[in-house]
């Protein structure tokens, strides 16, 4: 079985600060990482590989080639190979999902595509359903559990108000939630082994028949700072409680 996991390199959102002068988030110089729910998707793929013989796990990412280091971590976890597709200068969800779908078609023989439910930076969750739509295959989103039985995959979706059990034959695209598993940390053997695993680089413009105009453009990005008082009472709890109740009273929140 061939599994393709789509993973996104994101800025580490915990490090984002707002420039007080321009009121814009400072995105340059911030550490990059693989979006955490995508690691749950990789973990699920590796677990399936351990349970099912002759399974190959390919990690696919639309990212500048400097994402090699981040992708290596996924290879160290146990994925077999990685494909990086460089994006054009201007792109939106439509462009990126088209590139991912074209890359999946170029990889060719696929049974299962896994994605995280959304990326931690923008949290739209568009990629999974978009790719499934472009490939014209079923989508099973928000899976919190899944298993493969013969020629079928079964998954349980968390739709907030309902839990929906799904089944499908292959090929199928599944997006996973954080609850589905706990991603492993790469072992030392894994890290050493990753060095010899292939990372293939494709130029995105070669995959598209023609240049794609973004259907949507970001015209402004405004920082939203969250100023908090940050008063912390660290002394004994009795004293902390007393001071807190006085503070809340002054805020007019009690009574």
């Amino acid at each position: 079985m061939n599994i393709i996991v789509c993973a996104k390199q994101v800025v580490d959102v915990r490090e984002i600060k707002i420039d007080k002068q321009t009121n814009k988030p400072i995105l340059k110089g911030i550490g990059k990482t693989i979006s955490d729910i995508d690691k749950n998707a990789v973990e699920e793929a590796i677990k399936l590989k351990e349970e099912n013989k002759d399974t190959k796990v390919t990690v696919l990412s639309v990212a500048p080639f400097d994402a090699r280091e981040q992708v290596k971590e996924l290879l160290a976890m146990g994925a077999d190979e990685a494909v990086l597709v460089s994006p054009p200068e201007e792109f939106d969800y439509n462009t990126v999902s088209t590139l991912l779908a074209k890359a999946i078609e170029k990889i060719g023989d696929y049974d299962l595509i896994l994605c995280g439910e959304a990326s931690v930076d923008l949290f739209s969750g568009q990629m999974g359903p978009r790719i499934a739509g472009l490939l014209d295959i079923p989508q099973i989103t928000y899976a919190r559990a899944m298993s493969i039985e013969g020629d079928k995959v079964r998954a349980e979706r968390d739709l907030t108000d309902k839990a929906v059990k799904m089944e499908s034959t292959f090929p199928v695209l599944i997006t996973v939630t954080k609850e589905i598993n706990k991603p492993r940390l790469p072992s030392l053997m894994g890290i050493l082994g990753a060095a010899s695993k292939p990372i293939i680089e494709w130029d995105g413009s070669d995959l598209l028949e023609e240049r794609m105009e973004p259907g949507i453009k970001s015209v402004d990005l405004r920082g939203v700072s969250m100023e908090r008082k940050n008063v912390v009472y660290g002394e004994d709890p009795e004293e902390g409680v007393r001071k807190l109740v006085i503070s809340l009273g002054k805020e007019g929140l009690l009574g």
Partner: protein, 318 residues
């Protein structure tokens, strides 16, 4: 034309109000899609709240499935040459909007926080980078697909005299080879954290499910009565139903007073509480991230602090 769809009635009414405003700017119509709910009364209610037309459509599948519903919506968008397409932003709506956008090769914005026309173009705002920024995005093509969260817009007043058309429509739907094998209602305690004014929220600092009563007692003392929680308490441990879950993929809340008790302060949780008035954190780890996002904090063991705090607040409130 503005096309509107949600499987949630309240959300549909809210979107009709915004749709009306967008349609009026272009002398267009507001069309509501009702899929698999043959309910003429509800259709007429949508009309009296501002819709011009309601399309009744059957999908041929028993329950919502994104593949089949996308086919219907794509056909309908082409049929009416829709401009903006507003879709209710629950999990059903989000996966439908995204697949639909791919099928129509167009832009899509999930979870907008505002919609307006600017320079003649459909413009939308949304929260990005975990609430650290608002992105203003502009559609350059048609149709623009937008998912709208609940309670963003107020429904229009009912006008019994408004007239409109209820039309039965039928579109080609190709069936997908995935199947629904079972549907279960998720446990819910009917808690509405989004509307709550005071929330006492629990995290992994609680060692046992039974210990949550400590938080309930504080909520009772505050006459707040609403208990929230971070992701692990609901999604992993299932100590509380998901209607309690606060965070980026749970509920976003805006109480005037928010207590984060034994919550470490993962960024996804913070994103859900950014609009709160005063945030109070209780955590035994002085380095817990939650203190960076709190107005007041007590460093201490919640098992020791909470009973004392509940007592002190009871006395203060008397």
């Amino acid at each position: 034309m503005v096309l509107i769809y949600s499987n949630n009635k309240k959300l549909t009414l809210e979107m009709i109000a915004k749709g009306r405003e967008l349609a009026d700017e272009q002398d267009g119509e507001v069309i509501v899609a009702m899929i698999d709910e043959k309910d003429e009364n509800l259709a007429n209610e949508y009309i009296s709240h501002g819709a011009d037309k309601v399309f009744l459509v059957e999908s041929g599948v028993e329950n919502f499935k994104a593949e089949e519903y996308t086919d219907i919506m794509a056909n309908m968008v082409n049929d009416v040459e829709s401009g903006p397409v507003l879709i209710g932003s629950n999990k059903y709506g989000k996966e439908l909007a995204s697949r639909l956008a791919a099928k129509l090769s167009t832009g899509c914005v999930i979870d907008c926080t505002d919609i307006y026309m600017e320079d003649g173009e459909l413009t939308v705002e949304r929260m990005v980078y975990n609430g650290n920024a608002i992105s203003v995005e502009r559609f350059s093509g048609r149709p623009g697909i937008i998912t709208v969260p609940s309670k963003l817009f107020d429904p229009l007043k009912k006008d019994e005299g408004r007239s409109g058309e209820v039309i039965e429509k039928s579109y080609d739907v190709s069936s997908s080879y995935s199947n629904i094998a079972g549907i279960e209602e998720m446990p819910s305690e009917g808690v509405d954290v989004e509307a709550a004014n005071i929330i006492v929220s629990c995290g992994r600092g609680f060692k046992n499910r039974e210990d949550l009563h400590l938080a309930e007692e504080l909520a009772d003392a505050l006459k707040g009565k609403v208990i929230g929680c971070s992701r692990p308490i609901s999604a992993d441990l299932k100590w509380l139903s998901e209607d309690h879950w606060i965070g980026l993929s749970g509920h976003k809340v805006k109480p005037s007073l928010y207590f984060a008790i034994g919550i470490s302060g993962q960024i996804q949780h913070i994103a859900g509480i950014r609009d709160s008035g005063i945030i109070v954190a209780i955590n035994k780890d002085p380095n817990a991230l939650i203190f960076d996002s709190a107005d007041y904090g007590i460093v201490g063991d919640l098992y020791e602090v909470l009973p004392k705090l509940t007592d002190a607040i009871k006395k203060e409130m008397d």
